[in-house]
Subunit: 206 residues, 2 copies
């Protein structure tokens, strides 16, 4: 992927995330780049091709990130490596890093908004939205909690992940300080609650 193509993808994604795919014209993308729309077709076959390249680029980034962290790839949905030993502190810090990624990383943040916008238009995009932001991380969290031996892992996963999901929306509204402090409060509460339940469960097993 050349640097020029990458710049097109970034500009297109920025517009897709704000106005959606349909409401973003090829002229809009070209204007954002300071070129004419004809130039886009030197790098991409069509507008749809640009869109699909954005999806592919996100997959690449996801795979890179997973390789770095030695964590399951596939938007945290394939989770055979959930057998790795994890601690509650690991889970909490991983969650904090994930929130930072989906809000602070420019590409990831725009991608998240784009999927939010496009999820109902095409079942495939709906599945991607779930995989990256909905049922995906929820199920992954449940697997991690289950691997710790906690009871009712699904219910606990909802309690753990749902606030992050809500705070994405609060963050996007511009209330970033509130979202950040609410996230910190949530994660510390969750850390304590999970540790207490884990030690209680250990006692019961003696």
């Amino acid at each position: 992927m050349t640097e020029a193509k990458e710049r097109v993808l970034a500009a297109a994604l920025r517009l897709f995330a704000k106005n959606g795919y349909a409401a973003t014209s090829t002229s809009d993308i070209a204007r954002e780049l300071g070129v004419t729309k004809g130039a886009l077709y030197k790098h991409f076959a069509s507008k749809r091709d640009i869109f699909e390249s954005v999806l592919a680029r996100m997959e690449e980034r996801d795979a890179e990130k997973a390789r770095e962290n030695d964590l399951p790839e596939g938007a945290l949905s394939e989770m055979e490596s959930a057998y790795r030993a994890v601690s509650i502190d690991d889970i909490v810090e991983f969650a904090r890093e994930m929130f930072r990624y989906w809000t602070g990383d420019e590409f990831a943040s725009a991608f998240r908004k784009m999927l939010t916008i496009e999820q109902f238009r095409d079942p495939e995009l709906g599945a991607l939205y779930q995989q990256y932001l909905g049922a995906g991380p929820l199920g992954y969290t449940a697997d991690l909690l289950a691997s710790l031996g906690l009871s009712r892992p699904k219910e606990r996963a909802v309690a753990f992940y749902a606030p992050m999901f809500l705070l994405f929306a609060i963050w996007d509204s511009g209330a970033r300080a509130e979202a950040t402090s609410a996230l910190d409060a949530h994660l510390e509460e969750a850390r304590e609650a999970l540790k207490k339940d884990l030690s209680k469960r250990a006692r019961n097993r003696r």
Copy 2:
């Protein structure tokens, strides 16, 4: 509002909720109704007028619902009447009813999806999204919990409302049975936790 206009709004909202405002053409709306697009202009001045009439219609419904329930209107955001006496059971049942409304009511469900899609395009729509589905219900919940005398009402409001917000997304993915049972589990857990904390707080005050 004549019955014909109402039918236009319902058809338009259905399409707006799936494809978004920009990707929905006047021909699409007319086709859904079995008429030609020219007929729409007998009832509405423009496509934008249709969209704004949908917003106005939702406001009306919200006001009706608030009047019926003797509850605060304005998308549950104006909350001077939070001084009403409420019990934890009231809050839980109100939350269940609210979830049923935003998922089961056809108009409300489509409206919720439409706002989800359009929230980033226009700051005014972003504010509406927050008011109906984000910071609005979150703040209202915090006010209710605070009026009960619970400590850390904001943090508890996140723990109480966030699962509902997440389960909207799970519900929309088609996993309705999972969303429903997860909601029930969440509400019963929350009911017990809140009651326990409330009685503990009452004991401490003796």
